[in-house]
């Protein structure tokens, strides 16, 4: 028995494993599918004349970027816009947190439904019973909250902005509300998942002390999950700032609208200034959130001896997970003798920031055309007084998506017959029967028939964001792998410690220069949001898939180079010592990269997921596909058709989400 086992094992080791070829093949197939699914116009890159034009535009931009418009007037204008962006982001995030809490409490099974004693016996029946929302009012509420949060989350903030512009008008308030709606969905989902993932045994004693569901939540579940909750809130706030900087492209005010405007006019020096301010804003946000994280990490090590239940829980959470923090701080005991001061200070700062952004949006803002103060909060008053709701007539039509049932012979028979007579109805098996499935021509014919049905065209338009995301992610990952080598401090500054080299001073200088250049590249690629890259790429190469793909690839490059580089630099240098004479580059490629490859691929997959959503948004600003079709139909008052595209956007997001959860790659709990 043992020997046969050993034999089987050794036979296994003697066969060449081909897993990596399967993976490569899968990526290649995805790329091929991406190229086949959409009409790629490579003209901007292959046609000599257009390439020269694009190069000239890039050159003009680079030249202008080196000499941005720094006239006092424009700098003040840009500064006002930056503050406007910041206030919109703060307002949006604050609103989102306020809305997300009750929504998440509703959506969390542990909070909303609590412990259930199933009335019916049997394991399978009990499990089925748990999935039935109608079993109790609380369960129904829970299911409803989940539906609301899914919809809020699946509709991108840019789409919310397009809808809100019709309601509130152009301006930063629109941006803030759009961000708030989308972030509410995201936060509510993550909060409720975090609360649900707390082990019930850990808050059992609150129960046994006679606490009701609310008390159990406030004193048991919430403190136990607070660190992860705060961490995620902070991350989202950072994201909100990046999105607020670009949401102006669809009427959300702030830096985005101005950049969009100036790009169209080709005022590259002004664009340069605005991009510099965007970078300033995003990098400052990055820095601040990192500082808060570090602060909280320090807090946690100082209060490790804390005695209260909450502190113990928080400590546990941090041991499992990550450092984090936010203003609505958990009850952290600094000392036993005096009440904690830190949370009050943090809460105070957040309230101040909130008040400032309210004031700025209402009265302090001179970022408008003529420099006069303009109250951007006024539309909100209208919203409260109910005037704006009158404009909401279109919304009803948006909720009745066009399904074009006549084309497939359903619905009103007379209409269906009329369509059939026009030859515009789907007759799937008119030329090729189902048994012809082995003929390529049959598939072509079927596709052509199906294209007569509007819904099919909607589904096909989803291929474009997917194709952009696939190609952009692959390009970005490849670029990040190459850029991580000059980006890595281990290989550029500390290589002597594992190779024994004594580099000449000029070599040292060269490597430091390489490192600085790589880091600057990554910082810019990451600090400029993908939508802003899309503005630039559209201006250079013309609207289309190529521009969108490049935008996604550039942003992906920046984001991934940072996390890839961290993974490499976190490796102890000693591990690179036994390399048997390989050069630095060989050590990087054959020792460092294999060690972190798995982590890299996980990050890459996450990025792909968010790139699909980003590609839908890029469609809105002119790249094409699903997003473009939505905004096009919306702007031409074809709300029913826009509704169908909106439905597809929601479906796409939900499918990607479910897919990644199926692959057990959920971000939560990592």
């Amino acid at each position: 028995m043992v020997s046969t086992l050993a034999l089987a094992a050794s036979a296994r080791y003697e066969r060449r494993p081909l897993g990596h070829f399967v993976a490569l093949l899968a990526v290649l197939l995805a790329l091929l599918a991406a190229f086949a699914a959409a009409d790629w116009d490579w003209g901007a890159l292959t046609d000599a004349e257009r390439r020269a034009q694009a190069a000239a535009r890039i050159g003009a931009w680079l030249a202008a970027f080196a000499r941005p418009d720094l006239s006092p007037d424009f700098v003040r204008h840009a500064w006002d816009l930056t503050l406007q962006t910041l206030s919109a982001a703060i307002l949006g995030t604050a609103l989102a947190v306020l809305l997300a809490w009750p929504l998440a409490m509703g959506a969390s099974r542990a909070v909303c439904v609590g412990d259930e004693r199933s009335a019916v016996g049997g394991k399978l029946v009990a499990r089925l019973w748990r999935w039935l929302p109608l079993r109790s009012p609380a369960a129904l509420l829970c299911a409803a909250c989940r539906l609301v949060q899914d919809i809020l989350r699946a509709v991108p903030d840019f789409v919310w902005a397009i809808i809100l512009v019709a309601l509130v008008g152009l301006g930063p308030l629109t941006g803030a509300l759009a961000l708030a709606l989308n972030i509410t969905g995201i936060l509510a989902k993550v909060y409720s998942e975090l609360w649900d993932s707390v082990d019930p045994a850990r808050y059992g004693q609150v129960r046994s002390l006679g606490g009701g569901r609310l008390a159990t939540f406030l004193y048991g579940i919430r403190p136990l999950a607070s660190r992860n909750v705060l961490s995620f809130t902070l991350m989202r706030a950072e994201c909100a700032i990046r999105n607020a900087a670009v949401i102006g492209a669809v009427g959300g005010g702030g830096l985005g609208s101005e950049i969009w405007y100036q790009v169209r006019f080709g005022a590259w020096d002004k664009v340069g200034t605005l991009i510099l301010f965007t970078l300033l804003l995003t990098l400052a946000a990055d820095l601040v959130s990192n500082t808060i994280r570090r602060q909280l990490r320090g807090d946690q090590s100082r209060q490790s001896g804390g005695a209260s239940c909450a502190v113990a829980g928080a400590g546990d959470a941090s041991r499992q997970g990550r450092p984090e923090g936010d203003a609505v701080a958990p009850p952290i005991a600094v000392g036993v003798s005096r009440p904690p001061f830190g949370p009050w200070l943090a809460t105070g700062l957040v309230v101040l920031a909130l008040l400032w952004s309210l004031w700025f949006m209402g009265w302090g803002n001179r970022g408008g055309e003529d420099g006069a103060a303009r109250n951007h909060l006024a539309p909100a008053m209208e919203l409260l007084s109910g005037e704006a709701w009158g404009k909401l007539r279109f919304f009803e039509r948006l909720l009745q998506p066009e399904l074009d049932l006549a084309a497939i012979g359903l619905g009103d028979p007379s209409k269906a017959a009329a369509r059939l007579k026009q030859g515009k109805a789907v007759e799937l098996f008119a030329t090729h029967g189902a048994l012809d499935f082995w003929r390529p021509s049959a598939w072509l014919a079927w596709q052509q028939e199906l294209q007569k049905w509007f819904v099919w065209r909607v589904v096909e338009s989803a291929a474009i964001p997917l194709a952009i995301a696939v190609v952009g992610t692959v390009l970005g990952v490849a670029g990040a792998i190459l850029l991580t080598y000059p980006h890595s401090a281990s290989f550029q500054l500390h290589a002597a410690r594992f190779s024994g080299e004594t580099p000449a001073p000029w070599q040292r200088a060269l490597r430091a220069l390489q490192l600085a250049a790589a880091r600057a590249t990554a910082v810019i690629a990451r600090g400029v949001p993908e939508v802003m890259w899309a503005f630039l790429c559209i201006a250079f190469f013309g609207p289309g898939l190529v521009a969108g793909t490049l935008a996604i690839a550039l942003h992906t490059l920046g984001v991934l180079t940072r996390v890839f580089g961290e993974a490499v630099d976190n490796q102890p240098l000693r591990r690179f010592e036994p390399t048997c004479g390989g050069s630095r580059l060989a050590t990087y490629g054959l020792v460092a990269v294999p060690r972190v490859w798995r982590d890299w691929m996980t990050y890459g997959f996450f990025q792909f997921e968010s790139n699909v959503r980003a590609a839908v948004v890029l469609g809105l600003v002119g790249v094409g596909g699903l997003g473009f079709q939505f905004s096009f139909n919306f702007e031409w008052f074809r709300f029913e058709r826009a509704g169908t595209y909106l439905l597809m956007i929601v479906l796409l997001t939900v499918l990607i989400d479910r897919g990644s959860r199926l692959l057990k790659l959920s971000r939560v709990g990592r």
């Binding site: 004479g581 060989a586 054959l590």
Partner: protein
């Protein structure tokens, strides 16, 4: 001294030559005034209590730390002036064997073994090898020499500790270095497996004429394998001689407080 340097020109250079070398970490000297010559093909064991500077001596010879005084010549190169082609040559001809972390757990055995060819391959070939292993017959032959031919495609985690060290030895066989530095290669293994690995290393050294410097914690493995023993204490060269010359008295003096804990009194040496 004079005759020595004339000799060095006539016969192949000494693979290791330390002259009054000292190493300091943060101002404190962990190695001081080490003068040492190791001849080609010699098999040397380094012993001493923990903290005596054994590992630092290895890093000094490997060029991973630089002497603050004196000089260190490894395979004829001054380790303080290593760069470019000379660095590449030295690293190609220098083999390492550590207590652990020799292998890359994410790569299959065949890749780990072929890593020995990195110094000879171009980068393109090395990368291609990750997809389709190059010179796979060399890896097969080397693994056969350490009796692991059937584990060509295994992952290091699927092997036992002793098998992992044998894979690392197979990598040395593929690399064909002139000098092998083994830093406590058997400390994580039991005595029988340790003897096996040391035996393999010495066999490799004898067959290919490789100079071998092994850092040992277990004195049981000294006899019959090594030409010379070097004892370090407190960062200084304490004693050197043939394994047969070690006495209980010497060990007691060398190891001090650790003497009893290591059960050194059970070791058979000439009284």
């Amino acid at each position: 001294m004079n005759t020595d340097s004339i000799d060095a020109q006539a016969v192949p250079e000494h693979p290791v030559r330390l002259q009054g070398a000292a190493v300091a970490y943060g101002g404190q000297r962990v190695l001081d005034d080490i003068s040492l010559d190791i001849a080609p093909g010699e098999r040397v064991a380094v012993i001493g209590p923990s903290g005596a500077g054994k590992t630092t001596l290895f890093r000094l010879i490997a060029g991973l730390v630089k002497p603050v005084a004196g000089c260190a010549l490894t395979l004829g190169e001054d380790t303080r002036r290593l760069r470019g082609r000379r660095l590449a040559r030295l690293r190609r001809e220098l083999g390492f064997l550590y207590q652990q972390d020799n292998l890359i757990p994410q790569l299959r055995v065949v890749h780990n073994v072929l890593m020995g060819r990195l110094g000879h391959w171009s980068l393109a070939r090395a990368l291609l090898s990750l997809l389709w292993p190059q010179q796979i017959e060399r890896a097969r032959a080397a693994l056969a020499r350490v009796e692991l031919a059937d584990k060509l495609w295994a992952l290091p985690d699927e092997l036992s500790g002793g098998q992992q060290q044998r894979v690392a030895v197979a990598r040395l066989i593929v690399q064909q270095p002139r000098l092998v530095l083994a830093d406590e290669p058997v400390s994580a293994l039991d005595l029988r497996l340790g003897r096996e690995i040391i035996g393999l290393l010495c066999q490799l050294a004898q067959r290919d004429g490789v100079t071998l410097v092994v850092n040992l914690h277990t004195l049981d493995l000294l006899q019959g394998h090594f030409d010379r023993v070097i004892a370090l204490r407190g960062g200084r060269l304490f004693w050197q001689g043939e394994p047969a010359q070690i006495t209980q008295h010497l060990l007691r003096e060398l190891y001090g407080a650790e003497y009893r804990a290591l059960h050194l009194d059970e070791i058979e040496v000439q009284e």
